[in-house]
Symmetry: C2
Subunit: 196 residues, 2 copies
């Protein structure tokens, strides 16, 4: 995705060699035209998968997930975050470890919105260590639904999430993979390598 990579290079702020800020178009201020392009791209990549639902986790995953859902004309469910284990019988929930924040949190989805008939596409803004995606895939398993694949806007190729999800047998499509951040510069993997 040329437009996405251009915006990462032009507007991304390298906070340190691990942390990239893309507040200006993805995480705080959102460019809806870019999000529409992202939705169309995920549709192209997963259009043969008979997707019935898009699943993401609040908050930053919602924008790319919504425009993907629009292309597929299917509902978009966002898992809600909460600090504590909930005793509500009507939700699927699991714990996720955040390496960034060094704490665990729960994510949950109402049982009404994830069922054994669903073929689910997970969409998220970032892939780093893969914990959020693994958590969402657990919710999908609990529902007896099928995971069709994972669409990621920006993958940090230098962290182990991508390899971990591939090992688990998931199909992961990342629109931009960052190989390295160093001295304020961002190195994005080229398209040809993306396709391998």
């Amino acid at each position: 995705m040329y437009l996405l990579k251009k915006m990462i290079l032009e507007q991304g702020i390298v906070v340190n060699n691990d942390v990239l800020k893309v507040d200006s178009f993805l995480n705080h201020c959102i460019d809806p035209v870019l999000m529409q392009e992202i939705g169309k791209e995920f549709f192209q990549r997963f259009k043969n998968e008979k997707i019935t639902k898009v699943l993401t986790v609040e908050t930053s995953g919602i924008a790319p997930a919504l425009f993907t859902g629009l292309e597929f004309k299917v509902p978009v469910v966002f898992a809600k975050k909460s600090g504590a284990l909930n005793l509500d019988k009507d939700v699927f929930e699991t714990s996720i470890h955040s390496f960034t924040k060094q704490k665990d949190y729960m994510i949950k989805v109402s049982k009404k919105y994830l069922t054994s008939d669903d073929v689910v596409l997970i969409i998220d803004d970032f892939l780093a260590n893969g914990q959020a995606v693994i958590g969402m895939s657990e919710l999908i398993s609990m529902a007896g639904a099928k995971l069709a694949g994972v669409g990621i806007v920006i993958e940090k190729g230098f962290q182990d999430g991508g390899a971990l999800l591939h090992e688990m047998g998931m199909r992961v499509e990342s629109l931009a993979i960052i190989d390295k951040m160093s001295q304020g510069k961002i190195f994005i993997r080229n398209e040809e390598e993306n396709k391998k």
Copy 2:
């Protein structure tokens, strides 16, 4: 908006005479096709206002705000919530009182994404007592930006937010106004009255 009103009547769950759950298309599971229609409707209503930015607050306002931003081809900024006053000099922030949760919380927007050149349209999912909209309008004032109007998906007409915002001189456009909820039934104001 016929489609919205139909979905409220068919899928809305009256928790009690004050609380309406629309989890199945707006607040947990989102219908992106409905959101696109909502975006187009807000565009029709505000298209002469030279909008440069759409502002909402996380989480449930993001979906209708994004599709409105898409129609206007302008960025969508979502104010972030946090428990405590932040000492970051680079943000506009204000306190909002939540009557539902009986507590105060802060909302903040980076100064980079709200400037004195902006003409801002506030979008939110619900209007009840108006506190979230008033908070967002304060952020707009702090930035020296202009508030063009307020677009609401569902207004609780039996609470005082609508009247309060009108008194403050704001132009408020609500796509569905609920006059009353009683014995599990939802009473939606008819179109003709909406236009007055």
